[in-house]
């Protein structure tokens, strides 16, 4: 029963680690996840993927923090998808 106020915005971040950074790939991802966890908005969505969900401002600010932590850890790229939940069309919208 999804009867609660849904997050305004979610950001899905997929960390692409570098084989040539100082830290091993797994550690780069862990660094990103730790940074995401500290924002209080995060959940895991795959081995290299995490999602931040909350109000628009807090998600966008948290996204920058996670991207910075990922790059500092040596990640080669961070793929990003930002979605407004109100427009997502999930949960039974339409036939």
């Amino acid at each position: 029963m999804p009867g609660y106020e849904r997050a305004e915005v979610s950001a899905e971040l997929t960390v692409v680690p570098s084989e040539h950074a100082g830290k091993p790939p797994r550690e780069q991802i862990e660094t990103a996840k730790t940074a995401a966890g500290e924002t209080g908005l995060a959940r895991e969505a795959g081995p290299e993927t995490l999602v931040l969900a909350g109000s628009r401002r807090e998600v966008l600010e948290a996204t920058v923090e996670v991207i910075e932590a990922s790059l500092d850890a040596g990640a080669r790229a961070v793929e990003l998808k930002v979605e407004a939940e109100g427009e997502s069309g999930r949960f039974g919208g339409g036939g």
Partner: protein, 802 residues
């Protein structure tokens, strides 16, 4: 991942004809069309589905409640003859997580296990036994971690984080009035600590379904579920497909009670079907079913009630800690519900409620009949009995004195809408005749606790009586866009008028198909009605949960019928002129002024079809103080339990349960009685029997041998007093009826046990050892002869005097 070497022609599955019925009108008892086939074993449940060329799916599950996965080797399983696919998280092409509120649950675990039984890999093979053997050939390297199994421990700052942002999933606070000031003014204060165990929905039909690839990259899924469209949307996201390429059809559902609101094998079966390009069937066995669905949240509750000397409530303080298990499911909403129902249906001028929901490594918890109100009701009703005792008042009198009324405000700020007959149902249930109390000695054994086990001939048997009252929200709350869609077609078939009704609403055994037919019969005046199989070809009906389908889908069918009727009358007016009077349809004819003006067959040369959406009035999320118009409708019920207890052995016979419930309108009285009896049985189960036993995160009783359910021998007769006080905002004035019987039956039974034994009994289910006073909770290990356990127990005659 492996692909099938031989790809058969695109399989198809014929859509069965919807049976044509002749239902009664609204308010008449109507026999359900699926009743006889279910009793005779001819009904096709989702576990009975079959297709030529079908493969069997099976799931590899973690034996550990908390672990890291270091590697998964599927090569040996893939090499087995008869195995067509072995899939892991790497084969999930879309979103690798799902969840109704928060997508946090892996379709297949990738590196972390968070509960015992979590899926790691799936297999498709040409025989179920081959699939099972293949699971044994999958090698998973785990690093076993200590499980975090106590929700209160999980909330501590230094607890290991089970999810990235910590273990507290939600905290709701309700701040109403001024408790600090009020607590100084209370003459009498009672406190209590209460606990509710993890109850299972215990539906008889295990999770099952059949996925059929369409040969064009899409898939059809035949499934037993509570909400086709949310399943579809989640499956499509994980398959990386647009929703229109995933089509779901409801198959025979063997009970639900909330346990089918989340996904189980839906994505797995579709993944396997698309990989193998063959139909794939999955059916959980009974043990696996316990791992395959969510359960009722275990709760620990602290309460403080303050009242005047004359018994008026002055304030309530409540704190809930709910164990959400490993993943979110619908825990966010359960946490809110527990908070909003914490104080009961009473006038409470000051309240402080804290409701916390924490992740643990226990099995995930989510929706179950009563949805947060069950736990709260056990807490507030136990407190009302304790307060009555402290005040020297009759427990019903205390409840009546404080009963909430229309126009009052709940502690969460919402005005109480009419009807809210708390006083009336309490007085009615109290006024019902008490069951005869036969002389206990010399009775037929079947009328004694322990029954034919021959444990007593009447000695040590005491009778007790208890009361409880509850309320429950009907429909989705807190701002959710709650609606249903109905398509209605009026035509002439085989020379007679026929109404076809099509919705996506899940019939899970509650009788919704019959109800839809009754509404169509009533609104369109046509005897023959066919309710089409529910599927995603029509818009969402929302979930079969929150006791909402009669209201919301019933409302949609009514509205669609009204639209069809209006178009029909437009045709009649075109034919007969605008002055054709007040038109109606009776027995297949259009009638005006009591006379037939046209037979339907003359107006329906072309069928009339309308599809409509129906919404109830909006709700709103609570503000930071837990205040707001959170819910749409409230249903009330009261129960009286009469029990007989063997106070030496702790065995119980529930002699009778009596209930008064406001239903707004008894749409199908026979089905209503069934709902009430079934709900009461589930409440009795929680009071006395039903609990998933978990030790170190592992389920100990995943079978219907060890998970105790009430049988017909445990169920007493149920006396019912049905009130039909119309809700002016609801279709036909109806109220949802499915959940209330479950909610207050449990505390009524426990109150009766307290009356019989004099014991506090702060935890459900109440076990025999608590009734005889061995311990408030079951011991970690059973006492042995000569052990400290027995020494502590003392002699039986000494225990009697405690």
């Amino acid at each position: 991942m492996m692909r099938a070497e031989t790809v058969p022609a695109t399989p198809t599955r014929e859509r069965p004809e919807a049976p044509v019925t002749r239902p009664g009108r609204i308010g008449e008892s109507t026999t359900r069309a699926d009743g006889v086939p279910k009793v005779t074993g001819e009904f096709e449940y989702s576990s009975d589905l079959s297709m030529d060329g079908m493969l069997w799916g099976a799931t590899l599950r973690s034996p550990h409640p908390h672990a890291n996965i270091w590697s998964v080797d599927t090569s040996e399983a893939e090499a087995m003859p008869g195995v067509f696919a072995v899939l892991t998280h790497e084969d999930v092409p879309g979103r690798k997580v799902y969840g109704m509120e928060i997508p946090d649950q892996p379709v297949l675990a990738w590196e972390r296990i968070r509960y015992g039984g979590e899926p790691v890999a799936v297999v498709a093979a040409d025989h179920p036994e081959t699939a099972r053997l293949a699971l044994e050939k999958i090698s998973v390297e785990y690093e076993v971690l200590d499980p975090l199994t106590d929700a209160q421990e999980a909330m501590k700052e230094d607890a290991p984080k089970l999810h990235l942002s910590g273990n507290v999933l939600r905290h709701v606070r309700i701040d109403h009035g001024n408790v600090a000031k009020a607590s100084a003014e209370a003459d009498v204060v009672v406190t209590g600590e209460y606990e509710v165990g993890m109850q299972d929905q215990a539906f008889l039909g295990p999770e099952s379904g059949l996925a059929v690839p369409d040969g064009e990259g899409g898939v059809d899924l035949y499934i037993s579920t509570q909400w086709l469209h949310v399943d579809r949307d989640q499956v499509a996201e994980s398959l990386g497909l647009p929703p229109e390429m995933v089509r779901l059809t409801l198959s025979g559902v063997g009970g639900a009670f909330g346990g089918r609101e989340d996904l189980s094998m839906q994505v797995h079966a579709c993944l396997l079907a698309l990989h193998t390009e063959r139909p794939v069937k999955m059916v959980y066995n009974r043990e696996e079913s316990f791992y395959g669905h969510v359960h009722r949240h275990p709760a620990k509750m602290s309460y403080e009630h303050g009242a005047t000397k004359s018994g008026e409530l002055v304030y309530v303080k409540a704190r809930f800690v709910l164990d959400g298990g490993a993943y979110a499911s619908s825990s966010m909403a359960v946490c809110l519900n527990a908070a909003t129902f914490a104080c009961g249906p009473y006038k409470v001028p000051n309240a402080e409620v804290e409701s916390y929901l924490a992740y643990t490594n226990n099995p995930p918890c989510g929706a179950m009949r009563g949805f947060g109100a069950v736990q709260a009701c056990f807490g507030h009703e136990s407190q009302m009995d304790k307060l009555a005792e402290a005040l020297g008042m009759d427990p019903v009198e205390l409840r009546v004195k404080n009963a909430i009324e229309p126009g009052d405000r709940f502690p969460f700020g919402q005005e109480v809408p009419p009807p809210a007959p708390v006083v009336e149902i309490l007085e009615r249930v109290k006024a019902m005749p008490m069951p005869e109390e036969k002389e206990v000695m010399g009775r037929d054994l079947r009328e004694l606790p322990g029954g034919v086990s021959n444990t007593t001939h009447g000695e040590g048997v005491r009778r007790g009586v208890g009361y409880a009252v509850s309320f429950k929200n009907i429909g989705f709350s807190a701002g959710f866009d709650d609606y249903s869609t109905a398509r209605v077609i009026l035509s002439i078939e085989d020379g007679e008028p026929l109404v076809r009704v099509h919705t996506a609403a899940a019939e899970v055994g509650q009788g919704l198909v019959t109800l839809q037919a009754q509404i169509a019969r009533t609104e369109l005046g046509v005897e023959r009605v066919a309710v089409l199989q529910a599927d995603t070809r029509v818009g969402s009906a929302g979930s079969t949960s929150a006791s909402r389908q009669s209201y919301v889908t019933g409302g949609a069918v009514k509205k669609a019928c009204e639209a069809v009727r209006e178009r029909l009358f437009e045709r009649v007016r075109e034919e007969l002129g605008e002055d054709s009077g007040d038109l109606s349809v009776e027995n297949g004819d259009v009638v005006s002024g009591g006379e037939v003006v046209l037979p339907l067959s003359e107006v329906l040369d072309e069928e009339i079809e309308e599809t409509v959406e129906y919404r109830h009035k909006p709700t709103y999320p609570p503000d930071e103080n837990g205040q707001g118009d959170v819910h749409v409708q409230f249903a009330f019920s009261a129960h009286r339990a009469v029990v007989e207890v063997d106070v030496e052995l702790g065995l119980v016979r529930v002699v009778e349960l009596a209930t008064a419930q406001d239903v707004g309108k008894a749409m199908n009285p026979q089905a209503l009685e069934g709902q009430i009896e079934g709900g009461v049985a589930q409440g009795l189960g929680l009071a006395l029997l039903e609990e998933i036993q978990i030790k170190d995160g592992r389920i100990q009783n995943a079978s219907f041998t060890d998970y105790l359910l009430p049988t017909t021998l445990d169920m007493p007769s149920v006396k019912m007093d049905i009130l039909e006080l119309a809700d002016p905002e609801a279709p036909y004035g109806l109220k949802g009826v499915g959940e209330p019987p479950t909610i207050s039956s449990t505390p009524a039974i426990v109150a009766a046990l307290r009356d019989a034994t004099g014991r506090e009994l702060p935890r459900v289910p109440v076990k025999p050892e608590q009734i005889v006073g061995i311990a408030k909770k079951p011991p970690d290990a059973p006492p042995q002869p000569g052990s400290a356990g027995y020494a502590e127990l003392g002699r039986l005659d000494e225990r009697r005097e405690q």
